[in-house]
Symmetry: C2
DNA sequence: TTGTACGCGTTATCAC
DNA sequence: GTGATAACGCGTACAA
């Protein structure tokens, strides 16, 4: 561990210049076969590995891409087996980066104080993928001035940054169309998230598109807003129940709200999907386990990670290319709450 | 993006030496308040961030720890939501490292060709956590000569490397004791994994300990070997069924085998747990969803990641401290297959 | 408290 | 095909 050998030692040992050693290490096809073998052999003999920092300094390339994501707080002991969507993104990013010979530096940013960590990471990498809600906009901007940045699932970026996001609109359209086409429900409504949420309005737009496509009346706005929370979904459902005018189906803006609604309906003795059909959005892990299991829309998190790194690598190669925005398709996950026959959790064989 | 400013630019701009700038960036309490503020202000103004590579080269510290894990191959489309245990390890490692101001570099190593990536990562970090089956032993040794290494869940390390692993023996003892104490089963047998697997023999040893503790006859060896696969578990079960001498309970060396056995029993019309009780080991994600749900032993993957990085940081601080091996406790996961009342998957509220 | 000057280990730019 | 040498940007003895 002490005194690691340097390129000088290797060069001296086998009687060539450091230049030659350096080139042999980088270029698979450099020099005469004899020189190559000699260099490689002594490197192995001395146990020499090129120093990453020195390499990075001289070549101005770290060979590392960074991934910043929001820290969701202390791990929830009971829930710790639930697949966090961030994990999927990490795996996707790792896959593409490795393929391109880049390593991946990851950092979970806490809501407070993640800032310095973010700058620290930024100084060590050739480029950065920043996930939504990891970092304040101004810090993102500052960092983006020092290193290429790709935004992941951020709200529509005003800046000139590359951006990868999910096609919320089509996802919502698909699930709504399913309700319309496969089940022929007449009275379908949409429950949105927080007012002003871009995700929510995109999903509402998709909902409307499906309705229009089917020749139905298109509402001007969501029938209610549930704030994207389970509690909010329950509150909305209680109100709808009180009104006494239940629709035949409800498209919720996300899974949490749908699950909240499910609990209200259960308590009220209303059957799902027989009396009313319910759908969500996101495909969070509990959606599969509620009763009935929730029909929803899956976000392709792994693919998001992959696409983000691909975009980033392209940007690193061509810093002046025009900014790109990529929308990935969602996938309809049909389960029981829409009225389809529930496929049981797969057992064996 | 072009021509990032250097420490010289900042020093010149605010009329101090580079030393002062450097110190202000590292030491929260350096210099007069006035100087500090001036430096910080111009750094912000110029958008200067200390170059990570230069820093690493000069200080001989990268501020990065690496994590090498085996690449499980192409993601399985259907299964992609299953929480991979590696993800848990990553999160644990990330948590501790971040806390210590270190970033985490991750790399999935393919069975073939992961070697060069491993060396590349090794050259960029201050230390490395290497998970079991990521890398050939000789490469681990070679890397360990250039940078501190902690082995994670490796088979008992012959080398003088720090090592974190799971206490298989106690886990197996716990689950066996549960069968003995909580249910009072008389005839209990153990089905092992591949012959020669250290994990399998440790678990068998724990099984025997529990038996001995309860004053039962201790077998010399497992009643059968199922190779740690679902198919193997099924084969073993078929044979036991053919013999006609069913034990009252079977402790399987891992979940896969237990699940294979479950399917055989179902087909044979034997009731679990009423006719025969079954337990597994590992707590893989499907264990929760089979019928009956599988009583098993959870391996604390997140804690493994945390412990490994803690050990690594200690090792980096004190390269010459004596080698440490850490065994983490497992956790008994009681579900339905042992005969306990099955707790339903938690719904809402 | 602050500044000078050297070294960290490699790559890149020229020469040969 | 190969070699000398100047960057690369920062940390840090040492000096002031």
């Amino acid at each position: 561990m002490a005194d690691r050998p340097t390129i000088y030692a290797v060069a001296a040992q086998c009687g060539v210049s450091t230049t030659t050693v350096s080139r042999v290490m980088q270029d698979e096809t450099f020099g005469s076969e004899r020189t190559r073998q000699r260099v490689l052999a002594t490197a192995l003999e001395l146990g020499w590995v090129p120093n990453g920092a020195a390499r990075g300094l001289a070549s101005r390339r770290a060979g590392i891409v960074g991934l910043l994501f929001p820290d969701l707080g202390e791990p929830d002991v009971g829930q710790e087996e639930s697949p966090l969507y961030v994990d999927q993104v990490i795996r996707g990013a790792e896959r593409i980066a490795t393929h391109a010979g880049q390593a991946v530096l990851i950092a979970a940013l806490k809501a407070s104080g993640g800032k310095s960590l973010a700058y620290s990471v930024a100084s060590k990498v050739d480029g950065l993928v920043i996930m939504s809600r990891s970092l304040a906009d101004k810090d993102v901007s500052a960092i983006a001035r020092t290193v290429p940045v790709v935004l992941l699932a951020h709200k529509p970026a005003r800046r000139s940054l590359d951006h990868v996001a999910v096609d919320n609109r089509t996802g919502a359209r698909d699930v709504t169309s399913h309700l319309l086409t496969a089940h022929g429900y007449e009275n379908i409504v949409f429950v949105g998230g927080p007012v002003g949420s871009p995700d929510s309005s995109e999903r509402f737009a998709g909902f409307c598109e499906a309705l229009a496509q089917a020749g139905r009346t298109v509402p001007a706005q969501p029938v209610a807003e549930g704030g994207f929370t389970e509690l909010g979904g329950r509150a909305v459902m209680e109100r709808l129940l009180a009104d006494g005018q239940l629709p035949r189906a409800i498209v919720f803006g996300n899974d949490e709200m749908a699950i909240g609604a499910l609990s209200s309906l259960k308590r009220a003795g209303i059957g799902v999907p027989d009396d009313i059909a319910i759908t969500g959005f996101d495909n969070i892990s509990v959606s599969r386990h509620v009763t009935p299991s929730l029909t929803t829309v899956r976000q392709p998190m792994r693919e998001l990670g992959e696409a983000a790194v691909e975009l980033l690598l392209a940007r690193i190669r061509q810093p002046d290319a025009t900014r790109k925005t990529l929308f990935l398709s969602t996938e309809l996950v049909v389960r029981g709450s829409c009225g389809c026959v529930e496929t049981p959790v797969s057992r064996f064989e």
